[in-house]
């Protein structure tokens, strides 16, 4: 008998049949079938909002399906809440970790399944049990550290230990690599392969196709709540999956020509930012020229937020100088800097980029309301605002019924296209692009990349900050690695590989 046949005859660990779930206005899951076998890593891929997380929340008992059945080892089950799922051997690592920051690693692991002896927590036996698990799977963590003090990679390890402590046979990992460095990802994949060898089943949710192809045994693609394809890894290719995800062919490699650079548009000279005695930015110096994209890579929390704020003017440097073109702007307000020609795609479009409950024609002047064309005798000119908003919507392919609807009515990708479009439309000389495609689907990502590159080619200076290394590598002409508030290394794009950048991101290598 061939290997394929034996798999087919085995009873699946998990079987989802005809799962349907509707939320007001959308069908998140529409008649979804999915099977997971022992010793298998099954990748669930799809764009943001395709319904992957919803499906997994149904499996984990956080949502109830409107229709459909779930089988665990061939037996029909009703998973009414996460405790039922845990009892059935199903565990989930959420995209946003479900950890309690102020508890220790040990407390986090036992929470909800605490061993008790004479009314008191039996820490000793818990510790023994966890240490066994850690040893067996080569996943060491210091059990007495507070979780808030752990790096993200180890926090994720704690999440997985939580599942193993509860004896999970099926592990659901929702976008587990989104927050990891390449090295941490490698570690995670080692762990996952070891768990697979032990006969556990793993559902791996992702939209990073390289990773899926590296780790998965089987792939299910969903689009708009429906399964559009299922295939063993041997039959999968990056192009094929991407096309299935989006529903049309996608150009994955963006063309990014290097052009002759012009003068300095942004210069930071020994910029220091201190907060409560801590140097969040430590003597940062770099410059961005007209006609280039300068990418800042780094693990989140190494000063990205402060760097952005200090350039946009939300905070002022404690020492050093910031120049925009040739002007020192140290103490100039955000609006003053915009008037000097800064455009800013902020890190969080919903918190900073848009007034989410206001219509698009008002959102189009956010940050730019001072411009003459919007003023009519000192009062905002709604007519001009409406026509400007319509132009942005048209030029940047924002899918919206009209400019009268609130920004909240748009999908994440369209909100982002609107923000990007707005910032580009006013012709800034320097564009700050922070996480420009965070939470945006493949189609919109491609579009935004093209826009940023077009701007560069037109001679704009762009500072790109992103947590996505692929994005940094695809767009940047030069790359600086931010580590503990310092730019510890600069690369030209040709010199950089994800592995080398990763080493600097972790501070393993230093100049």
């Amino acid at each position: 008998m061939s290997k394929v046949d034996t798999i087919k005859e085995r009873i699946p660990l998990i079987e989802l049949k005809g799962i349907t779930k509707a939320f007001p206005g959308v069908v998140a899951n529409d008649d979804i079938h999915l099977t997971l076998y022992e010793g298998e890593i099954h990748a669930l891929v799809g764009e943001n909002g395709a319904g992957k997380t919803t499906l997994m929340k149904i499996l984990y008992g956080e949502y109830r399906a409107d229709k459909g059945e779930i089988f665990v080892r061939g037996k029909p089950v009703r998973i009414t809440n996460p405790s039922v799922a845990v009892a059935l051997g199903i565990g989930m690592v959420h995209q946003h970790f479900m950890l309690v920051p102020g508890l220790t690693v040990l407390e986090n692991i036992i929470l909800g399944s605490e061993p008790v002896k004479n009314a008191v927590l039996d820490i000793k036996s818990a510790r023994q049990k966890i240490e066994d698990i850690m040893q067996k799977n080569a996943m060491p963590v210091d059990l007495d550290t507070y979780v808030e003090d752990l790096p993200v990679g180890l926090q994720q390890r704690v999440e997985i230990l939580k599942l193993l402590y509860r004896g999970a046979e099926t592990l659901v990992l929702d976008e587990p690599t989104a927050v990891l460095t390449p090295q941490e990802t490698t570690e995670l994949f080692k762990t996952l392969k070891a768990l697979k060898e032990q006969g556990r089943g793993i559902i791996f949710i992702s939209h990073k196709l390289n990773e899926v192809l590296e780790i998965a045994d089987r792939i299910t693609v969903i689009r708009r709540g429906r399964v559009v394809g299922e295939m063993p890894i041997e039959e999968a290719s990056k192009e094929k999956i991407a096309e299935m995800m989006v529903g049309k062919p996608v150009v994955l490699e963006v063309e990014n020509p290097r052009i002759e650079v012009g003068g300095h548009c942004l210069v930071l000279k020994d910029v220091v930012y201190e907060e409560n005695g801590v140097k969040k930015l430590d003597e940062i110096s770099f410059s961005v020229h007209a006609g280039e994209i300068y990418g800042v890579a780094g693990v989140e929390g190494n000063g990205q937020e402060e760097l952005l704020k200090i350039i946009s003017g939300e905070i002022y440097p404690s020492a050093g100088e910031i120049y925009i073109t040739d002007k020192v702007v140290n103490r100039i307000s955000p609006m003053g800097r915009r008037q000097l020609g800064i455009g800013h795609i902020p890190a969080d479009r919903q918190a900073q980029g848009l007034f989410i409950d206001m219509p698009l024609y008002i959102n189009v002047v956010v940050g730019w309301h001072w411009r003459k064309e919007f003023q009519k005798r000192g009062i905002l000119d709604y007519k001009v605002m409406r026509s400007t908003a319509s132009t942005v919507v048209k030029n940047f392919d924002v899918r919206t019924p009209s400019v009268e609807v609130p920004a909240s009515a748009l999908s994440g990708g369209n909100q982002q296209k609107f923000v990007v479009g707005r910032e580009i439309s006013f012709d800034p000389t320097l564009l700050l692009a922070a996480y420009p495609t965070r939470g945006v689907d493949v189609g919109a990502t491609e579009f935004i990349y093209k826009q940023l590159i077009d701007e560069k080619v037109r001679g704009k200076a762009i500072l790109l900050i992103s947590a996505d290394l692929e994005e940094i590598l695809a767009l940047s002409d030069r790359i600086g690695v931010l580590y503990r508030g310092k730019i510890i290394k600069e690369f030209r794009r040709e010199e950089a590989t994800p592995e080398i950048i990763g080493l600097y991101m972790l501070g393993v290598k230093e100049e």
Binding site: E62, Y63, N81, P82, S83, V86, M92, H94, H96, F97, M98, L99, V100, P101, G102, L103, E107, N108, I110, L111, G112, S113, E114, V116, A119, V120, L121, K162
Partner: protein, 292 residues
């Protein structure tokens, strides 16, 4: 003559309302419910104490009444903040106002007078000249410390105040634990009431001690033992008022200033420490199942 031993004991008694209030608040806030209704719960408790004691001619009935009265207010706070997701501070403020009106209204009905009751002869027994209930707050603080750090209940309550979504995902009944935390704050407010001045009910007799209890809790960094020690700092500061004439050093100072001293102390302490204390991460955060 300065009677040092009596000063010590009297200080213990005067610290007790703040200490019990602070302990109760620790339970509530550890579970993530901001509880500025402590003042209102204590005030309601004092009224109920006198009511119950005079009604059944027993201080024990008074104590039970005090606890029930305070718990009733805490239940409203729980219902508002946990079930109906009202902003915790808004609910607390409303309940403080409600408590002051409610006690006056009930006083009219029960005692026939709006602002005070007749003298209540049924008060808790004294041991070494002070209210016997005042002796228990330090052991209870130690017990609370143990309960929060060494038991399943404590671990789960802490997890609810830090990341209720995580707790929920592990099958912890978040709403239930939050209610227990809030109700315990009511129980402790009842104990606070029984140590306040159970000889008579007087309108607004808590005089901000519920707020001082909160200040003590914050100053004590949400740790039951430190919170109680902070409450004692305020309590002993208040004790000075009564011993001013016996302490030569203080005789020159205006009695008004001495009376204000605990409050001024609280203000200074809070101004100095508020930014440095570490409340539970999700303290005051509205928890909705399935979000997050």
């Amino acid at each position: 003559m300065f009677d040092f031993w009596y000063f010590l004991l009297r200080g213990l008694q005067l610290s007790a309302p703040m200490a019990y209030g602070a302990l109760g608040a620790v339970y509530s806030e550890t579970g993530g419910v901001v509880n500025i209704a402590v003042e209102g719960m204590m005030l309601t408790g004092t009224f109920f104490f006198v009511w119950g004691a005079t009604l059944f001619k027993s201080w024990i009935a008074g104590l039970l009444f005090a606890i029930v009265g305070a718990v009733l207010i805490s239940l409203i706070h729980g219902l508002a903040t946990i079930t109906f997701k009202v902003n915790h501070v808004v609910s607390g403020t409303a309940l403080n106002i409600l408590a002051s009106g409610l006690t006056r209204f009930l006083s009219m009905q029960v005692f026939g007078m709006e602002t005070q009751s007749a003298v209540n002869p049924y008060t808790p027994p004294t041991f070494l000249r002070i209210n016997v209930i005042a002796y228990f707050f330090i052991p209870l603080a130690i017990f609370t410390l143990w309960l929060l750090n060494r038991t399943r209940f404590g671990l789960r309550l802490r997890s609810c105040g830090q990341n209720p979504w995580a707790a929920d995902s592990l099958g912890v009944n978040v709403y239930g634990y939050k209610y227990v935390g809030v109700i315990l704050s009511g129980v402790f407010a009842g104990l606070a009431a029984a140590t306040l001045y159970p000889y008579q009910w007087i309108d607004a007799m808590t005089a901000g001690r519920g707020f001082l209890a909160l200040a003590a809790m914050i100053f004590g960094n949400y740790n039951p033992l430190y919170a109680v020690l902070a409450a004692m700092l305020f309590g002993y500061a208040e004790t000075l008022t009564y011993f001013q004439s016996q302490i030569p050093l203080l005789s020159g100072i205006s009695p008004i200033l001495i009376k204000a001293f605990p409050y001024i102390l609280a203000l200074i302490v809070l101004a100095g420490f508020l930014g440095k204390t570490k409340p539970p991460k999700a303290d005051g955060v509205i928890f909705e199942k399935g979000e997050g």
